[in-house]
């Protein structure tokens, strides 16, 4: 051994060895190297004198050493134990990580396009889940006659994105009397126009086999009843201002 300290000092160090967490962390982090050097026939006592002393002074680290030493011997002699009940690994980590999810403004920018004299909104299956209103804390009281459209399915406000010209709002309500259908209400508020000058704006609603048009009322609203809920993901709304 070629270390500097004398045998007497080494024994003193081992007997007053500090077995605090930091010392054990330091020892355990290099224990594999220590065992490898030992099994390779290298002069491990000179290479790792502080670990050799720590192992004599710390029962916990000596126990870790003994377990690692025996493991390396078993690995070298191909005598590792067999499992009685082997299971398959979870290899989900090999799949590529999904990309960032689009935000509502991203989806709205993709769904709303400006026309020469208006605006067009194309709904999609990807957008609809983002348009669901938060759950109501208590049932909403509605005036008599409006209970038929009390349950709101979707809501959209183009003011979520700043670059939409002519503010467009969409609200979709389930038809209580025909639950497979809904009422689509489109409200248009072009810049600089307010009640009652919002009347007369042409709103068209298109589905694959259906096209309906309406003019807005003085509040800028146009409502379309009996729209199939199942086809909302294909709904196209065009507004001519």
């Amino acid at each position: 051994m070629a270390d500097e300290i004398t045998p007497r000092e080494r024994m003193r160090d081992a007997l007053q060895n500090k077995t605090d967490k930091a010392a054990c962390d330091g020892c355990l982090s290099r224990l594999e190297e220590y065992v490898a050097a030992q099994l390779d026939g290298r002069d491990y006592l000179s290479l790792f004198p502080e670990i050799a002393i720590h192992l004599d002074g710390c029962l916990q680290c000596a126990a870790a050493y003994a377990r690692l030493y025996r493991l390396e011997l078993a690995a070298a002699t191909a005598t590792l134990p067999q499992l009685q009940q082997p299971r398959l690994p979870d290899l989900a980590f090999l799949q590529p990580a999904p990309g960032p999810q689009p935000t509502l403004p991203d989806l709205l920018r993709a769904a709303i396009s400006q026309l020469k004299n208006g605006v067009r909104l194309q709904l999609s299956a990807g957008l609809l889940p983002h348009l669901q209103p938060p759950p109501a804390l208590s049932p909403t009281r509605t005036p008599a006659g409006e209970e038929r459209y009390a349950e709101q399915l979707y809501m959209l406000d183009s003011s979520e994105i700043s670059d939409s010209e002519g503010l467009l709002k969409l609200a979709v309500y389930r038809d209580e009397q025909q639950p497979q259908d809904c009422l689509v209400e489109v409200t248009v508020t072009p810049p600089g126009r307010t009640w009652p000058l919002l009347a007369g704006i042409l709103v068209a609603l298109e589905l694959p086999n259906l096209r309906r048009e309406q003019r807005t009322n003085p509040w800028g609203a146009a409502a379309f009843a009996q729209v199939p809920i199942a086809e909302l993901d294909k709904l196209l709304v065009e507004v001519q201002i």
Partner: protein, 200 residues
């Protein structure tokens, strides 16, 4: 499968080849972890939990393995560290039952022999030698403490001496286990502490 082939397969662009390599690696790592954890309750489940964590860590750090020929050893060291850490966190990092048993049997066999001792050691240590000879530890323990601290021997020659005495192979790790336990006893033995000017 050799280490280099295994290392290459873990990075294969063919997802089936890659998955197969990681599945084989998981089985190997589970066995390595089980070796360390074999005396623990639910040892197999614990070992496979460690192997699963090791698998992900290996995948994340594959670039750190600079020697593909040593991939198997590198991977085994990751899972063995995890297994040791598991024992430590559970305050169960104690001597393995097998180490305890074998060291005790070797000690019992050694006590039945009467070896002629010829101790060669550095000068100026005779006071320590005399003190350790009268310490309340077994003859075998005395040999191991004197062998390391006064004769500056590594555990391999000490294991060979003990093997010759008991007539069976003694592992160097058992020498370490026995000496660590006896150093713990000597830590409270006043005559040695006084000689070395240590206080309890």
């Amino acid at each position: 499968m050799d280490s280099t082939t295994w290392f290459t397969a873990c990075q294969d662009r063919d997802s089936q080849v890659q998955a197969s390599a990681y599945t084989d690696l998981f089985a190997y790592l589970s066995r390595a972890a089980l070796h360390i954890l074999s005396d623990q309750p639910e040892a197999e489940a614990l070992a496979q939990d460690c192997a699963q964590i090791a698998l992900v860590r290996i995948h994340q750090r594959l670039d750190d393995c600079r020697e593909p020929a040593a991939f198997r050893t590198w991977a085994r060291q990751i899972v063995s560290n995890l297994a040791i850490d598991t024992l430590r966190r559970r305050s169960r990092l104690t001597f393995a039952a097998q180490d305890e048993l074998e060291a005790a049997l070797e000690e019992a066999a050694a006590e039945q022999t009467s070896p002629e001792e010829e101790v060669t050691m550095s000068t100026g240590l005779s006071d320590l030698y005399v003190a350790i000879q009268s310490a309340p530890i077994s003859d075998r323990s005395r040999r191991l403490v004197i062998g390391r601290y006064l004769q500056e021997l590594a555990d391999e020659p000490l294991a060979q001496i003990e093997s010759d005495l008991v007539g069976k192979a003694v592992l160097p790790s058992h020498i370490q286990v026995t000496r660590a336990k006896n150093m713990a006893k000597l830590r409270t033995w006043e005559p040695l502490l006084t000689l070395l000017e240590l206080t309890r």
